[in-house]
Each structure stands twice: as C-alpha cells, then as structure tokens.
Symmetry: C2
Subunit: 348 residues, 2 copies
C-alpha cells in the first residue's frame, strides 16, 4: 500500500477556519499548527481522535555484552513484566490519558510463555523474532529475514488496531542497549559525527560514555559498507526499532496520526522516512528527550516537539503525556467560537 | 492568615520515594520535580488534586485611550460574553481537562446586569470595582481603595472555591491593554529595562510597538515615585492583575497549588511575591508565553515552565493545557511500581 503525501489543496481553507476563532491571530501557537496538521491528515475542519493506542515493542541487544549500558540486560525482561503488571510509567500515563496500551515481545531474552510463568493478558502480544539481536560489534545485529519479521510485527499490530477503529497511534520501546543502536542509526542516516549522536542512555558516567563511544565507533567501522536503509537497520538496528519503523510506515499507509516519542522512536522514524519520505507528514513529535542527540535529530527532521520536560525514559511515555494536547487541538477546532458567531470585534 | 514557607524536612524522604520508582534516576525530568513540589506542598508521598478551578478575572484599562493595543477595548466585554457562552479557548480547554471555570467581572467597561441583558450563569461572578481603570498616563490607574477592593475580589473567590474542596487553582485574565500594565510592573519590580519588558501583546506591528514603548516610558516616568508593591500595583496595575495577586496570596495562605499562566498572571505573581515571598513555593509555572518579556520574567523567578508552545492568549489557557501534567505527576507517585515491588534490577 503506498503512503499518500498530505493533500494541501484545502490548507488555506483550514487555516482560515483556525484564524476566525476568537483569539488573536496565531495566539495558540503550536496548538494551531497541530490543529492544521490534523485537519490536513483527515481533510476536515473537525478531525477526530478515535481509539488511541500506544504500541510498546520490547527487545534485547547483543551489543550489551560490550558494556554499553548502565543497567543489566535482564532489565528488559523485568520491565516487560512491570508493563504487564501495570506498574511502569507508560501504564500510568496511558491509563490517565485514555490510551490503550499494547506490549509486544519482539525479541526479549526471556520467555513469557504462559505455561511457564502464567503470564497472559489482554494487550500482550508475543511476536518474538529471536531472544535478542546478535552482537553488532562483530556481526550484523539481525539477519535480513529477522529484520523483515520484526518490521512485520509492527505492521501486524498496526493492522490489528486499525481494525478496532484506531486512527492515532504512538510507538514506544523497551530494550536495554537501544540508545546505542539509535545513535548508530542517527550517525549513519544524518551524517552527523558519532560524538553528537551518542549520549548517556539510562545514566552512564563519563567513563562509561567514553567506552560507549569507542564501542559504537568500532561498530560503525565494522559495518562501513552498509548503505541502504534496510542494510543499516539490519546491521545496526534492533528488533524493537525495526518493528516501530514497520509500524510507522503501515500507520502512514492508513492515514493515521503517528505519535513520535523520544530518541529511539525518532531513530526508527529516520529509517522509515528513508524508506518512504511521506511518512513524515503524519508525525506529531511529542517530546524532546534529554538524551544527547535527540535535539539534533529533531532539527534534522525540522520538527518542533510539543513537550520538552527533560525526560529520557522511552516506553512511549512522551506520547502518552503529550496526547492531551492533541485532544486540545481537536477540541479547539470543534468547539471554539468564531469572531462572527461570538460577536467579537477583530483587530483594529 | 500567614503563608507558611514549604516545610522541607521530609524532602529527602519524598525524593527517595520518587527515586525508587521503576525508571532510571531522574528519567521523568520535570514530572519528577513537579511531583516533589506537590509532595512538599501537601506533605505526603501521595498528593491529590481536588476540584480544580480556573478563575478568570476581566477588566478594562484606561490606558487603551493612548492606543497601546491592536484590539479595541470593547473586546474585553465581548470576550466575557464569549466566556459566558462557552466559546472561548479557555472554556474549551477547561471542559476538556476537567477544570471548573469561574469568570469574574472585576472592572469591565460594560454592564452584565441580568435585567438588562439576561446574563446569568453559574460560575459568573460580578465584583465590578469600576468600569475600567483610570488612564495611568495622567493619574494612578486605581485609587487605593479600588486596588484593595480588586484584591479582595481575588481573595473572596478563592475562599469560595476552598469551601467547595478545591486545592489546586489557576488564574487567568481578560483585559485589552493589560500587557501594558504587566510590562510596567515587570519593569519596576525586576529593574529590567522597559525595552525588555514590552511586547506586541495581541499583535501590534512595529510602529504600534514603538508607540506602546514610548507611552509606557511616559507612564513609568509619571509614577516614578511609586515604590512599595501596593503603590506600584495601584498606580500602574489593573483590576484583574490586583485580583489575581490577591487570589494567589489567599491560595498560598490555604496551602493550595497555584497554576501560573503567562505574561499577565506572572506579573501579578511578581506583585504577590513582593508582598509575601513564600507565595512562590506554591506556584507551578504552566507555560512560557510568546509575549516578549515572559521568558525573562520567568528567569528572574528562577522558574521552569511546563509548556512552551509559542502561545500568547492569556485567559488562563496555559493553566488549562498544562493541568494534565500535574495529574501525571500525581499518578506517577500513586501508581508507579518501585524497583523492589516490581522485581526490577537497579543500576549496575
């Protein structure tokens, strides 16, 4: 299915509709920009947000053997159990703001088989490609068919929520080590120096950061010949990043509003955009992460985030926190009076 | 009633409670700072937000005779009618996010007498001190007893919502010409040059901005001898600004969480803080306005706003938009699992 670029033929009409609301011209700032984007995506002055979902993909990374993270790899598995028990930040914020949370094991190093551990819940999807990627320091993170399978996990889950009437979807991730994969993808897709792409992740100290940078330089050198978007994703990505890239592309094919979270999710968008540039039109950038590199990443995308709260958590938490601002934009369009209808004088 | 400075004796305990949540240390950024502040205000690890209200004070300004605004003064009255009809931005955002809206005519140049116009609604309070301030270019904006009456309007309305069980309150305003009063108060309370305090308000062009600056310089010179906070407020403030300052002080006396909106509301806080500095402890800064000067004003208060969406509307709209982030902070404290309870490993 192709992705349609946004149809801008009615843009002036939509802008005029916004400008006639009872407020000084442009006084609602980014809420107005967001309203215009939603109107353009849905081609109506009164867009709606239906059955919002957040898909969180979890996977492990072979590169963690090189000591690139402040937390042990086992935390990926443990945090998925925390998601399933409803105790993580993203659970809390999704409940608060009315987003349906779906958690997908696309490559965690640990079994969630319900016969083994009695784990089964609505909204938990098992689509495990492999128990973690390979160590990309020495070999490609994924085999081509593994990368394709991970992307298919994203597409499949999006198809599932479309069937439920969803038209706005966020993507989150959990994967100890995945700021390394994201930094490498940023480096290779944007051409920015690796030093500007690498950050502290979950909390590395200075020595840890230096070590991470050295490891990632070696990884990039190891895969110097990778060129196409799929090659780069396969060699230096992660299952959760591939799933998000695939999911974003399918969401854009369906004309859905895409909520873009932080550093990892935006790296997945870099991949998706390199495959089909028009995916960018459907993206709402929910927050700017405190992870070094994310601000630059957003700048290369010419993206202005809704929130900038010094967060660096992932999980899609930024999507869940920003979601009420989308509701505000929609409500503004639907409910605010116009100068004419309210009998308010316009500018002198 | 005195304002109690925040009791920080349990701060380490509250911080530890936040640090034990299942996330990297500090990874929720400003949401964590906000959670700590709410915990300190209410002296509990599980603060609550009860019956949130937004009080919008409307008043006119005699200085508009000098041509300092892009909109005619009549818009104040018209916009109050728009509030009462439910069609303004703040109505929309309060409905969306569950805040009770109270609109108060504290000095609008026009009658809302229900016998005349049939206007009567729950949440509309008539507390008109006078039909607009005097022209501060030539005389003090208010007489001392008028300023006191306007501050009393704020206190009275806060007392009313406390009686309803409210413990979190935002303040908004409507008043054509009030960025002029706010800029003058900023100038005199912070000592910053007037050029850094004056902005385009509802949308002045360059010529209009130059004229506004010249008028405001003349006003400041006219009232050069005013020194005390009350003198400055009386000579160069506005009824809605005085009402907000009075309301903020009473809210802090009651230990309530105070939602601070944009340029005008923050100028009112400058007044309130000069009267009782501890009011600052109860303040959550909801957004940074696009009005020139607000960023500097926030910096002098050492305040980090939750939102920065290039808005410049007033009405308390920033409070209503930011409110879900307070709910997120409260939910994070109450609902997120700890490392111990979730069985998640801590940092290596």
């Amino acid at each position: 299915m192709p992705i349609s670029p946004i149809d801008r033929s009615r843009q002036a009409e939509f802008q005029q509709f916004i400008d006639q609301k009872t407020k000084p011209l442009g006084a609602l700032g980014q809420i107005e920009d967001l309203a215009l984007q939603l109107a353009l995506i849905q081609q109506t002055t009164t867009p709606t947000l239906s059955t919002p979902h957040l898909l969180v993909f979890a996977a492990d990374h072979g590169l963690t053997a090189e000591g690139v993270s402040a937390y042990p790899s086992a935390v990926t598995y443990q945090m998925v159990l925390n998601f399933l028990a409803g105790g993580a930040a993203v659970n809390v914020f999704c409940r608060q703001n009315g987003l349906q949370l779906v958690v997908c094991d696309v490559g965690v190093a640990g079994s969630f088989d319900q016969n083994e551990r009695g784990i089964s819940m609505p909204g938990f999807v098992k689509y495990k490609v492999a128990p973690g990627t390979r160590n990309m320091r020495y070999e490609p993170a994924m085999l081509p068919h593994e990368c394709e399978a991970a992307m298919d996990a994203g597409r499949t889950l999006v198809d599932g929520v479309v069937y439920r009437g969803c038209n706005v979807i966020g993507f989150g991730e959990m994967g100890i080590g995945n700021t390394s994969a994201a930094a490498l993808l940023m480096h290779r897709f944007t051409g920015l120096p690796l030093t500007q792409c690498v950050g502290r992740g979950t909390g590395l100290d200075n020595a840890g950061l230096s070590h991470k940078l050295a490891v990632l330089q070696a990884v990039s050198d190891q895969h110097a010949t990778a060129q196409t978007p799929l090659d780069l994703l396969t060699t230096m990505g992660g299952f959760e990043i591939a799933a998000i890239a695939g999911g974003m592309l399918r969401a854009a094919e369906n004309g859905m509003v895409i909520l873009v979270d932080g550093f990892i999710a935006t790296a997945a968008l870099l991949v998706a955009q390199a495959i089909v540039p028009a995916v960018r039109h459907y993206c709402v950038f929910c927050h700017q992460s405190d992870e070094a590199g994310h601000q630059l990443m957003l700048e290369t995308l010419n993206a202005t985030p809704l929130l900038s709260l010094s967060m660096r958590l992932g999980e899609g938490s930024g999507c869940a926190l920003a979601y009420p601002l989308l509701q505000s934009a929609v409500a503004m369009l639907a409910e605010m009076a116009s100068f004419a209808s309210a009998g308010v004088s316009e500018k002198v």
